[in-house]
């Protein structure tokens, strides 16, 4: 299979400095005891989440819906919904506390340092613009490439996310593509400006099982090839098991268990984690657990 760097022209290779294996592994994203409250209701929704993400690593957040996973991600992206605020702790992106960022600084940071993909990819793309143009737009704006070069790079990116016939896909509208293809396009748009961190919030949830596996493979590829640091959010333990180094299990805004993925999956300490694993064993989680045991 053609890999990401194979397909990119040499001068356009994803340049991720921090991924350099010889340098010290400085954290790209660190959350310290982050608390998020609903200002309208005066309630605290997320009660202290901490983790550190270094280049090429993957942190997984699991939990049922309403457990605060998405809010935590949105806080790190600076896109909390109205009335929601970070009321405690700190979030640092490459050493900068996000509390100090101005709107313009946020705009500069997003896309180039941190980016994200979501569930229901169709809705995250503009229905009236060709998908290729939406990727090229990011390249043009964030990398200051001229129109033609941006177009070339967008096609390269579409090829890099393993879309067959990238030239054809470039000229299509979102409603002409399938869910799996759209998620690939969304990933291509998210990595177009070479971010260091990619947050995948339930990115595979609505997809067929086979397509889901392909997308997870793609994410794993990106991490290996480009040294991307990933935050993978899912209610599905299998997804997390396949990809992550570290796992946070959240329940009702509380991190109930946190640790290396293997340890949490094989030796769960919290009842809720055990419950999640027990549920998944019925659906064949073993096939993910077994190969990990060999390594």
């Amino acid at each position: 299979m053609a890999t990401l760097s194979d397909n990119l022209a040499p001068e356009e290779t994803l340049d991720l400095g921090p991924g350099d294996p010889t340098g010290p592994r400085r954290p790209v994203l660190s959350l310290h005891d982050v608390r998020i409250s609903d200002q309208a209701g005066g309630r605290e929704i997320v009660h202290g989440v901490s983790f550190t993400l270094t280049p090429g690593r993957v942190v997984g957040i699991v939990g049922e819906s309403g457990s605060g996973k998405t809010l935590t991600c949105r806080a790190a992206l600076g896109i909390l919904p109205a009335h929601f605020e970070v009321t405690g702790g700190s979030i640092e992106i490459r050493g900068t506390d996000i509390a100090d960022l101005s709107p313009a600084q946020w705009t500069a940071l997003r896309g180039t340092t941190i980016s994200a993909v979501f569930q229901d990819p169709a809705s995250y793309l503009n229905p009236s613009l060709r998908v290729g143009a939406q990727i090229a737009e990011v390249v043009r704006v964030k990398k200051k490439l001229p129109r033609r070069a941006a177009r070339r790079r967008a096609v390269d990116l579409l090829r890099a996310v393993h879309l067959r016939e990238p030239e054809l896909v470039y000229g299509q509208y979102p409603h002409e593509l399938s869910g799996g293809m759209l998620q690939r396009v969304l990933i291509a748009a998210a990595i177009a400006a070479d971010p260091h961190i990619l947050i995948a919030d339930e990115a595979t949830t609505a997809l067929d099982v086979t397509v889901q596996a392909e997308i997870l493979d793609l994410l794993a590829d990106l991490r290996e090839q480009a040294g991307l640091a990933l935050v993978v959010v899912s209610h599905d333990l299998a997804v997390v098991a396949q990809l992550c180094d570290e796992v946070l299990v959240m329940q009702q805004g509380e991190v109930v268990e946190q640790g290396p993925a293997e340890r949490v999956l094989h030796d769960p300490r919290h009842d809720y984690t055990r419950l999640l694993i027990a549920e998944h064993e019925q659906y064949g989680l073993e096939k993910f657990l077994d190969p990990k045991e060999e390594t």
């Binding site: 053609a2 194979d6 397909n7 992206l77 896109i79 709107p103 705009t107 500069a108 940071l109 997003r110 896309g111 180039t112 980016s115 994200a116 979501f118 229901d120 809705s123 995250y124 793309l125 503009n126 229905p127 009236s128 613009l129 737009e137 990011v138 704006v141 964030k142 090829r159 016939e165 030239e167 054809l168 470039y170 000229g171 509208y173 979102p174 409603h175 969304l186 748009a189 998210a190 177009a192 400006a193």
Partner: protein, 342 residues
């Protein structure tokens, strides 16, 4: 695999450009075809109803030409002259084929060619209607956008209030107010009449400004209201979050992503608005003493000149359908996604 792809790339690219042009052409064809598919039955039905008007009205050219006290013989003679003694469907077919060739027949009152008469008035009416549309779209766009971007602030409330007020002002009320203030009171504009553009741009503009403003209020209100709500709706869409996360600036998000999608419904409103604009021209042309299409319609109707009224209605239907066709084409270009399943 990579090498073959690299070689194939230039060919693919050229093919892609070709297929894209074909794509666009195809979409235009589909839009035009769909509009025509709706247009043909509409046109047949509307012309039939229009033509049936004469039989229902019981009006006759003999009344107009000979007066009320004409002998039955004289009436029959005149009616035969106009071909009104033939079967209804034959008359309709005759008239309909004439319409297809652009012949609308002769006026009952003076025998003049109706196509020519309408053509004379159409210049006036289209000048006014086009100017009204431009005012309506520009002002409506500015108001709607400002209200959407500053929603829940005093700007939004002020604009919403203003739009509410102007939306309940019928064209003839606006017309009277404008005449009172700007023509009679301040002498800024002529209160009536029309000067063709050929006799100078300034006078032409001065004569059509007040009627155009009077007609535009309705358009301003509808465009502003629709644009405000569709922009606000567009801002709630996920693709805006997507664009934010990709690091695009607020300005770019508005102009490239939000505006494009918010514009669709406002454009569609414009298509629905056009018939009432044509209708309201009857009233504004009366107020401002313009010898336009609407005035001609009113005068012919009052005189009982059936062929002239039929001609007016046919032309108005063609105008409305043509305008909607343009709107649909623009819509297909601006928001391609909305074209499926409509």
């Amino acid at each position: 695999m990579t090498t073959t792809e690299a070689q194939a790339a230039p060919d693919l690219r050229r093919g892609d450009v070709l297929s894209r042009t074909r794509h666009t052409l195809g979409r235009v064809t589909v839009t035009v075809a769909r509009s025509i598919a709706i247009f043909v039955p509409v046109f047949l039905l509307a012309t039939f109803v229009t033509f049936a008007l004469r039989s229902l009205s019981g009006l006759s050219p003999a009344r107009i030409q000979l007066g009320e006290e004409a002998t039955p013989d004289a009436v029959a003679r005149v009616e035969a002259q106009w071909g009104l003694d033939r079967p209804f469907l034959v008359q309709y077919w005759d008239w309909f084929t004439g319409v297809l060739h652009g012949r609308l027949g002769g006026s009952w009152t003076n025998g003049a060619d109706i196509s020519t008469l309408i053509g004379l008035g159409l210049g006036v009416s289209l000048s006014v209607a086009t100017f009204a549309l431009i005012i309506g779209v520009v002002v409506g766009f500015v108001l709607g956008t400002a209200a959407a971007l500053r929603r829940t602030t005093w700007v939004d409330r002020a604009i919403t209030g203003f739009v509410t007020v102007i939306s309940v002002m019928p064209a003839f009320v606006v017309g009277i107010v404008l005449v009172t203030v700007f023509a009679v009171g301040l002498h800024l504009f002529p209160s009536a009449g029309y000067v063709p553009a050929a006799q100078g741009f300034g006078p032409w503009l001065a004569h059509i400004t007040l009627p155009a403003v009077a007609l535009s209020f309705d358009v301003v209100a509808d465009v502003a209201r629709q644009l405000r709500s569709s922009l606000i709706a567009a801002y709630r869409e996920n693709y805006v979050t997507g664009a934010v996360v990709r690091g695009l600036s607020p300005r770019r998000i508005f102009f490239v992503h939000v505006l494009r999608n918010g514009l669709g419904p406002a454009l569609a409103t414009l298509g629905l608005k056009f018939p009432s604009l044509v209708g309201a021209s009857v009233v504004t042309e009366w107020i401002f003493g313009l010898q336009g299409f609407g005035r001609f319609a009113n005068d012919s109707a009052q005189a009982g000149d059936v062929p002239a009224v039929q001609g007016v209605l046919v032309v108005s239907i063609v105008l409305v359908v043509a305008f909607n066709l343009i709107v649909n084409l623009v819509l297909a270009r601006v928001t391609p996604a909305s074209q499926r399943g409509v």
